[in-house]
Amino acid sequence: MQIKVENLKYTYSPKTPFEKVALDDISFTINDGDTIGIIGSTGSGKSTLCQHFNALIRISHGKIYVGEWELHAKKLNLGALRQAVGMLFQYPEYQLFADTVKEDVAFGPINFGKSKEDADILARYALELVGLDYDEIKDKSPFELSGGQKRRTAIAGIIASRPEVLVLDEPTAGLDPQGKKEILDLVTELKKSYVKTVIMISHNMDEIAEYCNRVIVLNDSKLLYDTTPRELFSDKEKLSLTGLEVPHAVRVKNLLEARGIVLQGTPLTSKEFVELFKGGAPCAK
């Protein structure tokens, strides 16, 4: 499903003293199969942008096409849209509510009109997909799980509805390194299932560099760049405008350049760095 954003504008509390432009004339396209990173400093409009994709925020100016849906149209089948575009909020474990894990995960499918039996099957599949043991966990209260399990349950609650597009707002926030890695690997796994497109907000450039094939950079409510991570992180001038950090591997490359050693290409991860270094050999001075 292609997502096409055209001249999107959004203002908070318009025509009041608290008026604040959150998105200013944003246009870009997300293609089927993309894992797209949305980056920018806090308050740059990332979350506001993402909440447009499933019409949690209705468009006040501009257009968005999600597959067949026109999100700017007056009449919109919200149920079908929200089923197709799943959205995981920050700290999603804080939205768990049901008596049992099974019920919580089945909440989405039931809302989207599935029968209880079908919803249970979907819940089972989703819980297994996120790597939880269904039989062991299904009747537990979501509140007695560990932190990592809670987050997985919350993710299961989103993907149980079989969304084609998955929007993740800082999915690894607050987790320990192991937990972070597990969630990111899970996202990679999910892309082998029915989830076709992933849109991910993150502050961690190492994550973005490793997992995303494209990045959208927001700066001060405007779209600053729409490019690949490699392009973005190769361009020191571009980056200095945004005040964003760079992945560590890129940082090392830049530090080497400052010391007169030029690597051919931009390594995004430690693995790439080592390979590039071994392959090309430092092209000294």
Binding site: S41, T42, G43, S146, G147, G148, A173, G174, L175, D176, P177, Q178, G179, K181, H203, D206, G243, E245, P247, H248, A249, R251, V252, L255, L256, A258, R259, I261, S270, K271, F273, V274, F277, K278, P282
Partner: protein, 285 residues
């Protein structure tokens, strides 16, 4: 190199164990087991370990929120299990928590800073001086009369630090205080903690999941399942691959690269930071 502060110990934990128990004394979870360590005056220490490894339990023990099942903890020579001295300990051991919103009591920043000293019965003029000093120290003076609600995460945490500083503690514990912040906020808090340590000689104990926050520490303690499994300088800890794996830590990217390059036959020293790595590569023939 051996630390020369051994005779200036401010915190001594001697063979301490603690289990979480329900009100009916049933075992719920292990907190820490047989932990012994000591922290010298003016040291910057980092506690690492995955979720549930006992880091926060240790912090709570240091502040006398909980008392050991066995073993003893002394802060400045005072036993934390002695009821009468509990407030003396708490005023000496300032503690900043994870969620900045959940540790502020007042709606105006200066009132929040006054809260601790007021509780201790400090005279008014003295409180005034302390507020001015503490806000200056964390660089938030111009926000003195404002509400904390509109601040960024990093600013809120700096206020939280100031609110603790106004009790004039000798030890500052940051219990995952950077976990919920964006990179900018994290940098602000780290910079503040570092400065307090270097300029004011404050003993700092930082609990974190971010490995890069540990590389500048004097000492790192590694916990796993309630036990202290490693103790040393960041270099000693991170170069111990076995330990890193066992505690589910993550290597800093620079360390990862330096180790991999070494494995590929390059004669490169173990690097903790990107800068060290770049230096190391430059020295390669």
């Amino acid at each position: 190199m051996e630390n020369s502060t051994a005779n200036n110990v401010v915190i001594k934990i001697d063979n301490v164990s603690y289990d979480y128990r329900s009100s009916s004394d049933e075992f719920i979870a292990r907190g820490v087991k047989n932990v012994s360590l000591s922290i010298g005056k003016g040291e910057f220490c980092v506690l690492l370990g995955r979720n549930g490894s006992g880091k926060s339990t240790l912090a709570k023990l240091l502040n006398g929120f909980i008392v050991p099942d066995s073993g003893t903890i002394t802060v400045n020579g005072i036993d934390t299990s002695v009821d009468e001295s509990i407030y003396e300990i708490r005023s000496k051991v300032g503690m900043v928590f994870q969620n900045p919103d959940n540790q502020m009591v007042a709606s105006i920043i200066e009132d929040d800073l006054a809260f601790g000293p007021e509780n201790l019965g400090i005279p008014r003029d003295e409180i005034e001086k302390r507020i001015t000093w503490a806000l200056e120290t964390v660089g938030m003076s111009e926000h003195r009369k404002r509400s904390p609600n509109k601040l960024s995460g990093g600013q809120k945490q700096r206020v939280a630090i100031a609110s603790v500083l106004s009790m004039l503690p000798e030890i500052l514990i940051l219990d995952e205080s950077t976990a919920m912040l964006d990179p900018k906020g994290r940098a602000e808090v780290m910079e503040t903690a570092m400065r307090l340590n270097k300029e004011k000689g404050m003993t700092v104990i930082l609990i974190t999941h971010y490995m890069d926050e540990a590389v500048g520490a004097d000492k790192v303690f590694v916990l796993s399942e309630g036990e202290l499994i490693g103790e040393g300088t960041p270099r000693e800890i991170f170069s111990n691959v076995e330990l890193v794996k066992r505690a589910y830590l993550e290597l800093p990217v620079a360390s990862k690269i330096s180790l991999e390059l070494k494995e590929s036959g390059y004669d490169i020293p173990f690097a903790l930071t990107d800068e060290e790595l770049a230096e190391g590569i430059c020295k390669l023939k």
